[in-house]
């Protein structure tokens, strides 16, 4: 598989096994509360995967992602409420609306960098939230949100529809992960990482930042819109409270703890934080205090997130194994060739280097 250079047979079978286990979950667990938490987690996963692409891979500090999520949700919800088209079309429409908004948002950010980008996109999100909140026409329902939206599975019973949503969301998560990982290793992904790590050099080599950034925003926005549409469909409602500082801080925590820019980071981070949040659901203050401390510790001590941490130790173990093999085979040839220098790159990297984005810390042949 050329689209996934990092994936060995072992990793493919591990990923396949995880997917099979996930597919079987609704057949084993019948507790409605547990299942609904899982569906919500899945929807957040879609959102976080989309956000990770623009934040981690493209390196654009877009803090307007929740506005795109809300726009997709409201768009799909309003279509489901006020028209008789198939809800699946409404779902797609949510994605398209968010993608269009994302492209519009991409233009003003092109002249900015770093912190200014985050402020501009955050300002965009605030404006969207206020427009939704203070909409006079009654289309958005103000702070109460949309009334009961039929959703994708309005004909099914509650239990059956929860299962159906679980599988739908799981399918979207799997497709999104594979698609964005493939895009990340395609020419587009390489160009985006080039622009992220060395903007001037990438531009000098003929990579057009404008075109690629707009692509990145459109892809990420489309997926965020789909996540929003899934949200409105599953919850049968959406309100402006899906946006704002508090939810954003939780989602950023998820991404950073898992490992920004990696394919598996958002999945690990989202599930981990969601478990912590669910366990602490009766202590709202404690939940965020613990998340905040967690975030602080991870950023300071493990800059590439848990996935990066595991990847670093994994590659160190692999390097040791290679060294041992080398030493054994070279002992017969001559003792001086088996020095530690000959055993491949050490697992640690220079502290001044910016965080790498490659999956599991393994070097990417395309970027090198």
């Amino acid at each position: 598989m050329t689209a996934f250079p990092d994936m060995t047979t072992g990793r493919w079978s591990l990923a396949g096994l995880a997917t099979v286990v996930a597919v079987a979950i609704p057949l084993v667990i019948s507790n409605q509360y547990t299942l609904s938490v899982m569906v919500t987690t899945g929807i957040l996963l879609v959102l976080n995967i989309s956000w990770n692409f623009v934040l981690g891979v493209a390196g654009v500090w877009n803090f307007g992602q929740l506005a795109l999520y809300a726009l997709g949700g409201y768009g799909a919800g309003i279509i489901m409420l006020h028209s008789s088209v198939s809800p699946w079309l409404a779902l797609l429409a949510g994605g398209v609306i968010a993608a269009a908004a994302a492209v519009l948002l991409a233009f003003p950010t092109l002249r900015l960098y770093g912190i200014y980008t985050s402020l501009l996109t955050f300002a965009f999100a605030e404006v969207i939230q206020y427009v939704i909140l203070n909409d006079g026409s009654g289309l958005t329902g103000g702070s109460f949100g949309l009334p009961i939206v039929p959703g994708l599975y309005s004909s099914l019973s509650l239990e059956a529809s929860t299962k159906a949503y679980f599988w739908t969301v799981l399918a979207v998560v799997v497709i999104a992960t594979l698609a964005l990982a493939a895009v990340g290793h395609s020419r587009l992904g390489i160009a985006l990482r080039g622009i992220r790590d060395a903007p001037a050099y990438a531009a000098a080599r003929g990579v057009n930042p404008l075109r690629y950034r707009i692509f990145a925003f459109a892809i990420s926005g489309f997926l965020a819109g789909i996540a929003g549409a899934l949200y409105v469909s599953y919850n049968q409602s959406i309100s402006p409270s899906v946006m704002g500082l508090t939810p954003m801080s939780v989602y950023v925590t998820m991404l950073v703890i898992g490992g920004l820019g990696t394919a598996t980071g958002p999945i690990v981070g989202t599930i981990l934080v969601q478990i912590v949040a669910t366990l602490l659901v009766t202590h709202p203050g404690a939940e965020f205090t613990i998340l905040g401390l967690f975030l602080l510790v991870v950023v300071v001590f493990v800059p590439d997130g848990l996935v990066g941490l595991v990847g670093r130790y994994w590659s160190r173990v692999a390097a040791w194994a290679a060294e041992d093999e080398r030493a054994e085979s070279e002992q017969a040839a001559g003792p001086q060739a088996a020095g530690p220098k000959a055993a491949g790159p050490p697992g640690d990297r220079a502290p001044a280097e910016p965080a790498e984005s490659e999956d599991e810390g393994s070097p990417d042949p395309h970027v090198a």
Partner: protein
């Protein structure tokens, strides 16, 4: 009628601008020196307003004591924030994601402070007694509460004081030196390691004092810092990050826009209009009004 509106707008502009300036100038000072956008400044406002509540309402002591206590407490808290959330990252200072990483860590500190306050004090809004009571009639129909007047005067005094401190004092000159050229400052013997916590403590202390006044104007509650933080962010972008004069001009410009918007279209739309203005400013001038791409700040 129109004259009343205009006087009202001007009075509101001075009050809003002064208080925005006080919070935003701290963020500018930090950005100029450390190159980080400190998201914990809003929490410092919140801490300040709780200290105001504790000393003015619970203990019933003198307002001046409340201001001094808020200054000391938030200074220490700000210096600690620097030591915990920024100092460990300083060795990655030249990495391209340094600004974003410190943005996230200071944000994490804000999250912890807000939610510790939520755990300790609960989600209730607490009335902070005004530092001074009563009001003066400026013009027919326009009342100026002494609280707001004092707030504006103290803010202006503190901003001027900060300017003098930066221009004249040893530590102030050291802060400016670090902002201009870190390596040269270090070679001249500036104790950079000590300077960073002091800068962040000083900025936090300004926000803490703003909190005492804002608590009297609104309430003390765990999220009391969110709105001042958002408004200060608007001000610092508008003025250009790291430019002190730019921040002061921007604070009053933003105050004027908001006051005008409140009179013409009402309070609900004033913040979205501000954000709209910011979107435009950033599109036209990507570094704010007086901001420069790099170097030569403060």
């Amino acid at each position: 009628m129109i004259a009343t509106d205009i006087v009202g707008i001007l009075v509101t502009t001075i009050i809003l601008g002064s208080i925005y300036g006080l919070v935003a100038i701290g963020m500018t000072l930090i950005y100029g020196t450390l190159r980080i956008l400190d998201m914990s400044q809003g929490s410092m406002v919140m801490v300040g307003s709780f200290i105001g509540w504790g000393i003015l309402v619970v203990a019933g002591w003198n307002p001046i004591l409340a201001i001094i206590a808020a200054f000391i407490a938030t200074f220490i808290l700000g210096a600690l924030t620097q030591l915990v959330s920024v100092q460990p990252l300083m060795r990655r200072r030249n990495a391209i994601d340094f600004e974003m990483v410190t943005f996230i860590t200071t944000f994490a500190v804000a999250m912890v402070l807000t939610n510790v306050a939520l755990e300790v004090f609960g989600p209730f809004q607490r009335n902070v007694k005004s530092v001074v009571s009563g009001s003066i009639n400026v013009y027919q129909g326009v009342d100026l509460p002494y609280q707001s007047l004092t707030m504006a005067l103290v803010s202006i005094a503190l901003m001027v004081g900060l300017g003098v401190f930066l221009a004249r004092s040893r530590w102030g000159m050291a802060i400016r030196a670090v902002a201009q050229d870190l390596d040269a400052a270090r070679l001249m013997g500036v104790p950079v390691g000590k300077l960073y916590p002091i800068t962040m403590g000083l900025a936090s202390a300004l926000a803490g004092i703003a909190g005492v006044f804002l608590g009297g104007l609104y309430f003390a509650y765990p999220q009391a810092g969110d709105l001042p933080l958002l408004e200060a962010l608007i001000v610092v972008i508008f003025g250009g990050l790291g430019s002190l004069p730019g921040t002061v001009y921007a604070a009053y410009a933003i105050g004027l826009i908001q006051a005008t918007a409140e009179v013409i279209v009402g309070t609900t739309w004033s913040l979205p209009i501000l954000y709209g203005v910011i979107l435009l400013v950033l599109i036209v001038r990507p570094y704010g009004l007086l901001g420069r791409p790099s170097e030569a700040r403060l």
